[in-house]
């Protein structure tokens, strides 16, 4: 499945829910199911500085494939970050760097976020794609 196809699947899944409450709840439940990061990794070194909530991440490459792990102390941000991690993990750096990651607009989730969180999250997506581009050479 391409990144585009996976994003469409997410968008369809959220659009099928009857209201915003259910969409946010799904996102938060996904957050609770995501592995997150070990407690000892949630320090300043892995903290993404652009978000009002605490958001930690680890992006690494192994065997030509990316792995993104994310965590947050706010479930909605953790859920969005987990979606991003799901889109990115297992893919090549080149694929991630060149993808158009717009699933969050399709979800309309970000409209509920405060402007600082929305902007912070957008910067995380940019950071991941930039680092993927660097890894792709």
């Amino acid at each position: 499945m391409t990144i585009q196809e996976q994003q469409r699947e997410y968008a369809d899944r959220f659009a099928a829910l009857p209201d915003d409450f259910d969409r946010y709840t799904l996102l938060m439940q996904m957050a609770m199911e995501s592995p997150g990061l070990p407690e000892e990794e949630k320090g300043e070194g892995s903290r993404f500085p652009g978000c009002r909530s605490n958001l930690w991440y680890r992006l690494e490459e192994e065997g030509g494939r990316l792995r993104l792990l994310t965590d947050s102390d706010t479930l909605i941000v953790k859920g969005l970050a987990a979606l991003l991690a799901d889109l990115v993990t297992g893919r090549t750096p080149a694929e991630v760097a060149s993808a158009e990651i717009g699933v969050f607009d399709a979800l309309e989730i970000d409209m509920a976020l405060t402007p600082e969180r929305r902007e912070g999250f957008a910067r995380l997506v940019e950071l991941v794609q930039r680092r993927a581009g660097e890894l792709a050479g």
Partner: protein, 430 residues
């Protein structure tokens, strides 16, 4: 709705009653039968449950009308005006000051200074008082539970002036440790600053006792009344405090206006800290002679339309009867506490019935932000976070703060039921 007894109405229209008491009786009768929500145009056109009055209140039509009327009929700069418009606007502005003095029980010993809000009043008091009475080595006492507006000014000014800031801790009931306060009061103390009611957990501080302890040592007391003024009768003379700060927008009035109500004995000895037009008597190249009170502390063109709106909000509240308002809100606060704490999954960091309609709670594993978002999606408006009270939240081990529901005069038992239904839906999903 319970119909009021004939006796209440007869009592209210007794011509021998003074206006305030007549209003109180009338208010008692009317609140029984009236859902005040309909008097608030924003609330009347929506199903939204507004539980964020501690952040700001909605405005009754009467206040909106009064401000529009002032703009339409006599908008002109106030004081020293040679024309009729200016004289009429000045009359309304000074009438607003008198209304504020009456509402807050500020007798001849006190002066009402209009400010842009409680934060401005607190900053004015802190800067001017410490310029007059602060000195290196002296100290200011504040409570740990203060809102930043009554904490940071003192902290920063003490730091810049080589003074000590002594912070009194709070107990498990959210109230200040009066033993610690008594020990902290020394000859070096120049002022004690405390909230009348806290914005985080709706705790009414023992302000009469704080005043008694401080005055016994000759120390004045400043009270932050931002969260108290709309919810219980306030009489600064009876409280005995030296300074009392309020914001109009937290008592059904407009933003951009508030008041510092202070004993004249202090104001006369405090230097002005904001300078410009209106607050001077005579200016030469070498020196300036300042105007008398209150003008001395009201530099620049005041928010005179805001003052008119402020006064109308006060007279509107007087018409409702503050004793009745207070009793009803305390009953609703108890209902809010009792109903919310029963919901599975809800955690109350301070599990005591709040003294006023402010309730802070948590819904783990959701962060306060998550919970507030899910409540917003169910038509409930309230607040989450640290509530500008970082020292208290840190001391209580609440790094993300709380969800806070706060009641206003327009809230009902049905609003609380809707909140609880919404909370139960969240609790069931997690």
């Amino acid at each position: 709705m319970i119909a009021p007894s004939i006796t209440l109405f007869q009592a209210a229209v007794n011509p021998n009653l003074k206006r305030k008491e007549a209003s109180a009786r009338w208010g008692e009768a009317m609140v029984c039968i009236m859902n005040l929500r309909t008097e608030f145009p924003l609330l009347a056109q929506t199903d939204l449950i507004y539980l964020d009055s501690a952040a700001t209140t909605q405005k009754p039509q009467a206040v909106l009308d009064e401000m529009e009327k002032a703009y339409r009929e006599c908008n002109a700069n106030v004081h020293r005006s040679p024309h009729a418009l200016g004289r009429e606007m000045t009359r309304r502005y000074e009438a607003a000051r008198a209304e504020a003095a009456a509402f807050f029980g500020a007798g001849e010993d006190y002066q009402v200074i209009f400010t842009s809000g409680a934060t401005d009043a607190l900053n004015l008091a802190a800067r001017s008082f410490l310029e007059g009475f602060g000195a290196p080595g002296r100290q200011v006492i504040v409570l740990l539970s203060e809102h930043h507006s009554n904490f940071v000014p003192w902290q920063q000014l003490c730091c810049r002036r080589g003074m000590a800031l002594r912070v009194i801790p709070v107990g498990e009931d959210g109230r200040p440790d009066l033993g610690e306060l008594a020990k902290a009061l020394t000859r070096k103390t120049c002022i004690v600053a405390a909230a009348h009611v806290t914005n985080t957990f709706g705790v009414e501080n023992p302000v009469e006792e704080i005043v008694r302890l401080a005055h016994a040592q000759g120390v004045p007391v400043l009270l932050d009344g931002a969260q108290a003024a709309a919810h219980r009768p306030v009489d600064v003379g009876a409280l005995g405090c030296d300074f009392y700060c309020v914001s109009a927008h937290k008592l059904y009035g407009p933003t951009g206006i508030g008041a510092l109500i202070a004993r004249k004995q202090w104001l006369e000895a405090m230097p002005p800290v904001s300078f410009g037009g209106e607050m001077v008597d005579r200016v030469t190249v070498e020196e300036t002679r300042f105007a008398p009170l209150p003008a001395r502390f009201e530099a620049g063109t005041p928010n005179y339309i805001g003052a008119v709106g402020f006064a109308r909000a006060l007279s509107w509240l007087t018409d409702q009867g503050m004793e009745q308002v207070s009793r009803r809100e305390q009953a609703l606060a108890r209902l809010l506490w009792e109903e919310v704490r029963r919901i599975p999954g809800v955690v109350l960091p301070l599990d005591r019935c709040p003294d006023t309609g402010i309730l802070s709670f948590l819904l783990p594993p959701l962060s306060p932000y998550d919970a507030a978002l899910l409540l917003d999606k169910q038509g409930i408006a309230l607040r989450e976070g640290l509530h500008c009270a970082h020292p208290l939240m840190r001391a209580m081990g609440l790094p993300q703060g709380t969800v806070r529901a706060s009641l206003g005069i327009y809230n009902t038992e049905e609003d609380i039921e809707r909140l609880c239904t919404a909370l139960r839906r969240i609790s069931a999903a997690f």
